[in-house]
Structures are given as C-alpha cells and as structure tokens.
C-alpha cells in the first residue's frame, strides 16, 4: 500500500514540450524498439539473410546471363550489382516499420502511447530511428559478404562514406512509407504484404539489376526517374562501381546524387507528415 502513496514521481509532471521533448520521447521509443530487436534476433538475422541470398543468386545464377554495357569482364556484373542490392536492402525497412507499427496498433500499444503526454511524432520517429539502426547493421554485414566474394570499392573513403549515407537516407525515407502503411492497415500480416507488393516492382523497374538501356522506351523513362535509380546510380558512382566507358545522358542519371537526396528528403517529409497526421487520429 505504501508504494502507491510513496514519494517518487509527481502526480502531475510538469509539461515540457518543444523539440527537446520530441527528441527525448523519440529516444525512449527507439530504445524500446532496439531492445525488442535484441529479444527477437531472428528478425534481424533473417533480415540480413535475404539480401545475402540475393547477392549470391544474382552473382552466380543470373549474373552470367546479364551483360554489363561497355565491358565483357565477367567480374563486372558483381561490381555493378552491389549498389542495386544495397538500395533494395535499405528500402526493405518498409516491411519492418509497417509490420511493427501495425502490431502496436492491434495490441493496443498505440492507444497507450496516444493516451500519454508524449510528443505526437515520437512513436513513429522512434520506430523509424530503430529501423535505421537495423538497416545500417544489415548493410555492414552485406558489404562484408560482398567483399568476400570479390566486390570492391574503387574510390576514396569519403566517397564511399557518402554512398552509404545516401543509402541510409533512402532507407530512412522509405521507413516512413512503412509507418503510414502500418497505421493504415488492420493487421501485421496485411502490413507486410502491403509493404512489399509495390516495393518489388519499384526496385526492379530501375537500374538496380539490369541496365535501363535494355528496357522498352516507355519503361526507360519511368526507370530513369524512379527514386531508386538515382540512388543506385549515385552509389555506383561513389563506390567506383560504374561500368567503364558508360555514358549517361539522362538528366536524373547525370545529377544522381542531388536527385537521390531530393527524392529521399521529399519522401521523408511527405510521408512523415501524413503518418503523424494519421497517428493523431488513429483508431486502434
């Protein structure tokens, strides 16, 4: 009984507010999601295995049949492929965010959070930040595997670092799409499918796995303007993995770094605004 009337904590804690509270609340939620990852390591491990499979399948099964323009070197596809795999991997953060948030909705946790005097964006910011950590871990493991089978970075440390930053930015932006999906669907299972059903075509309708110049003309336009393609092109460039002698004449390919940042920022801003608005009125 004494505990309930004890002296710790105030009955009505003071209001904070502002950016500092948002950051602190987001950190509390991110901590929670990171802890969950350590408790369910399967999710992280399987999340890493999928892109590793892709690398192996594309390199050894399909790689032989895909010609990289401007070279006959068999090893060239491996170099070409990795940027695509990296970009695809980071965008799979969509699935994690959407399933996780949908689960919190169905289990009543979102209701609990919404009844607490915490920043309205913190549940989603915390979730996407934790997903970003998982994405970064996956990228590191993937890079090590790729290195082991012969992929190399041919440019400087700064450029390579920039390439990884572009990838993480893209992944972070896409996790906000996942957040909106998670808040909109009725079950975690639906969230997983809803997260992947458009993502697969989006990643394949790009320069990630095959040169866009091999596609029909009308598809080429879509592929070149795909947010995905800009990042892949930029990362290829920053890793020094562009096929030798390849000349890109399309505007988004010539300005790939800027276009990549632009798309990512646009997606992140747009979908975080939509998601937070949805969260405020979420019916759990």
């Amino acid at each position: 009984m004494a505990a309930a009337t004890g002296a710790i904590g105030a009955a009505a804690p003071g209001q904070r507010g502002g950016v500092l509270q948002t950051l602190r609340d987001s950190w509390v939620v991110a901590k929670r999601n990171l802890r969950r990852m350590t408790r369910i390591p399967e999710i992280v491990v399987f999340g890493m295995m999928q892109p590793v499979m892709f690398v192996l399948l594309f390199t050894y099964v399909m790689g032989g049949a895909i010609a990289v323009p401007g070279t006959t070197d068999h090893n060239a596809y491996k170099q070409y492929l990795m940027a695509g795999i990296f970009a695809q991997t980071v965008t799979f953060a969509v699935a994690g965010a959407s399933a996780g948030i949908a689960e919190d909705m169905t289990k009543g946790l979102v209701d609990r959070f919404r009844s607490l005097p915490m920043a309205r964006s913190a549940v989603l910011v915390g979730r996407t930040m934790a997903d970003l950590v998982q994405t970064a871990l996956t990228v590191v493991v993937l890079a090590l595997v790729a290195f082991a089978i012969g992929w190399r970075i041919h440019k400087g440390v700064l450029e390579a670092f920039g390439g990884f930053l572009l990838l993480l930015l893209l992944g972070y932006a896409f996790s906000w799409i996942g957040a909106l999906i998670g808040l909109s669907v009725r079950s975690p299972e639906a969230a997983t499918s809803a997260g992947l059903v458009w993502l697969f075509p989006l990643t394949f309708l790009s320069n990630a796995f095959v040169p866009v110049s091999t596609m029909p003309g009308w598809l080429q336009a879509i592929a070149y303007w795909n947010p995905f393609s800009a990042t892949v092109q930029a990362v290829r460039d920053l890793f020094g993995n562009l096929p030798p002698g390849q000349v890109q004449t399309e505007w988004p390919m010539q300005h790939a770094i800027g276009v990549s940042i632009g798309w990512s920022v646009l997606i992140a801003v747009l979908f975080s605004m939509l998601s937070v608005r949805k969260y405020r009125s979420a019916a759990g």
Partner: protein, 332 residues
C-alpha cells in the same frame, strides 16, 4: 463543475451510419467510482476513448480533472491513467522496462521512472518477474502489469475499460482488491464493465448505457429498487416441464416472466415474499413438477438491465447465465 473529476455533456460520435454515442452526459464526483455498464457495442469504450483524448467527438463537451479534453488534450493526458481492454504491454520488454518506458513518456526522469517501476512491480506482486519479458507472464500477470502502467504517475483520474474481461475468477477477485485499494486512496475512477457483479461491487454509482445513451443512473441499490419487488427463480429438472411450470407461476407474476431454455430456469417478478414462494412450491408439487432449485431473491442488476432495455446484458447466453447465477448467488 467544482468537485466533478469527470464531466461530459452531450457527447455524440458517429461511425458511418452507426451512432456510437448519442448524447452521453456524465459526471463523476472526485474520489468516487462510476461504473459504466452495458452490453458490447453500447458505447462504453467509445465514451472512454473520448474522455481519454483518443477520439474526437462530433459534438459535445468534456472535462477531466477540470481540464477541457478537446482544448487541452495533452494536459489531460498528464492527469489520467488508462488501462484498456487489451493488456497493452510490450511482450518483448521485461515488466520493469515496460513500466519504466511509460514513466519516461509521462515525462518522469529516467531515475524516477525506474524507481517507480520497481515500486509498482512489488505492489502488484510482480517483483519476482520484474526482469522477465512480459511474454512469459500469465494473462493475469499481464493485466496487472497493464494496470500498473496506468498508475505510474499516480493519476488523480483513472479509466479502466473492462479491466477483468477474459480473466478467470481468481484473477478477477485479485484485480478487484487492487482497484478497491486505489479507490480507497482517493483516485477517481471510471470503470466500464459487462459484468453486473463487478459494477455492483466496485462502483458507487452506475450509469447504464445502451445504444449510445445513458438510460439509467444511480446507485446499485437505487436501480434495483427502481424496478421493485423480488424474484422467484425456479430451475426444473426436466425441460419438458417448463411450460407447465410457467403456467403455475404466471398467476403470481407481477411482470413478464423470463425463461432460459437450456438452464431450465424461470424467473418471475413477485410481490408478497415468502408466502408467494410457499404457494408456488405447493402448486408445482401439485402438478408433479420436479424442481432442482427454487428461491426468492432481490432483483439483480441483470434484472434492472433487462427491464430497462428489454434485452439481456450480453449477446452470449452462456456468459449471461453464468453472470446471472453469480449475481443471484451473491444476493441470496
């Protein structure tokens, strides 16, 4: 509205064609418990969601602890504790981590949140399980953890939405004791329940809700007195005798008798007490009807509900009977 910890006027909320709330008025004086009683879909949960800032009403006005729910939702959130129909805990966090997280999100310092978490875990008999993930907890333990989460800041006003739904009788009793202790410490409580017994035991005041409206309001005793009289309850041994028994009882009935086929139970409102009971037994005996059980009892909240709404409290007949039995047992 001095003295009212919770007050609501004319709350209306529609979902498509459904008027979930059709003008709900409530006031709960400080330090008291209001039981919101009604069947599934009556509007209990929607009312709680509006009062706890989770849902905006289409129209109406509400204050909690004197703060306007619509104008200052975040201020309200710092003054309330909510425990919903699900045990809303993260099953991959330990009990301590769950409570500490909630404390920090109530804007307590990390250190205070941790100390409070440990304090509450002990109080709720979860001290031993503090460092185990909630996944390993039993249903009753999760509910206690969820209730503890609603108590982290010692809120002056608490909302418990069907806190014991799905719990076995032992855990239900244990939770009732916890709730009674809280109320003894001066917390104002709004409790929703489908269990008449629960409202009867915990609430000072009961509001009966049906189709989004408060259709009756008062203490349990007042509501029972409102429909007056006593009930004769007969359980016959064989279902074939139900019609004959009903015939024997009808001359004594002061209102509509109710028949439950599968439990072979007939309930009739009567006046005249024990003398009527003796008459009834003689008549049943004369007709050769074998009875398993017969008794005279005061009306239960079940009867109140039936006479107010024309339907029983719950769709599920089995559950309904079980509750009725328990309530009857307690009253007799």
């Amino acid at each position: 509205m001095a003295g009212a910890a919770i007050s609501a006027e004319g709350l209306v909320k529609t979902f498509g064609d459904v008027r979930a709330l059709d003008g709900v008025d409530l006031d709960v004086p400080e330090g008291t418990v209001l039981g919101l009683l009604g069947p599934n879909g009556a509007g209990k949960t929607t009312t709680v969601r509006v009062l706890t800032t989770l849902l905006k009403p289409d129209s109406g006005h509400a204050t909690v602890a004197g703060v306007d729910v619509l104008k200052h939702p975040n201020k309200v959130r710092s003054l309330i504790g909510l425990s919903g129909q699900y045990a809303a805990v993260d099953e991959y966090l330990t009990g301590r981590e769950n409570l500490q997280m909630v404390g920090e999100l109530y804007q307590m310092s990390a250190r205070d949140a941790k100390a409070r978490a440990l304090e509450l875990l002990d109080w709720f008999n979860l001290g031993e399980a503090a460092n185990r993930t909630a996944k390993t907890y039993s249903g009753g333990m999760r509910r206690r953890l969820d209730l503890a989460a609603a108590l982290v800041v010692r809120p002056p006003v608490m909302f418990l939405d069907e806190p014991t739904t799905g719990l076995d009788p032992r855990n239900r009793m244990a939770l009732w004791e916890v709730i009674e202790t809280l109320v003894g410490q001066g917390t104002t409580l709004l409790l929703t329940t489908q269990y008449l017994e629960e409202a009867d035991r915990l609430a000072h005041d009961i509001a009966v809700v049906d189709h989004g409206r408060v259709i009756a309001r008062g203490t349990a005793d007042k509501l029972k007195a409102q429909i007056g009289g006593e009930r004769v309850e007969v359980v016959v041994q064989s279902a074939i005798d139900l019609d004959a028994a009903l015939e024997a009882l009808t001359p004594h009935a002061m209102g509509e008798p109710t028949v439950e086929q599968h439990t072979r139970r007939i309930t009739v409102p009567v006046e005249g007490g024990a003398a009527v009971l003796a008459d009834v037994i003689r008549e049943l005996d004369a007709r050769g009807i074998v009875i398993n059980d017969i008794g005279l009892r005061r009306p239960t909240l079940d009867d109140v509900f039936l006479s107010l709404t024309g339907h029983a409290t719950m769709g599920d007949a089995d559950e309904n009977t079980a509750t009725g039995k328990k309530t009857a047992g307690k009253d007799s």
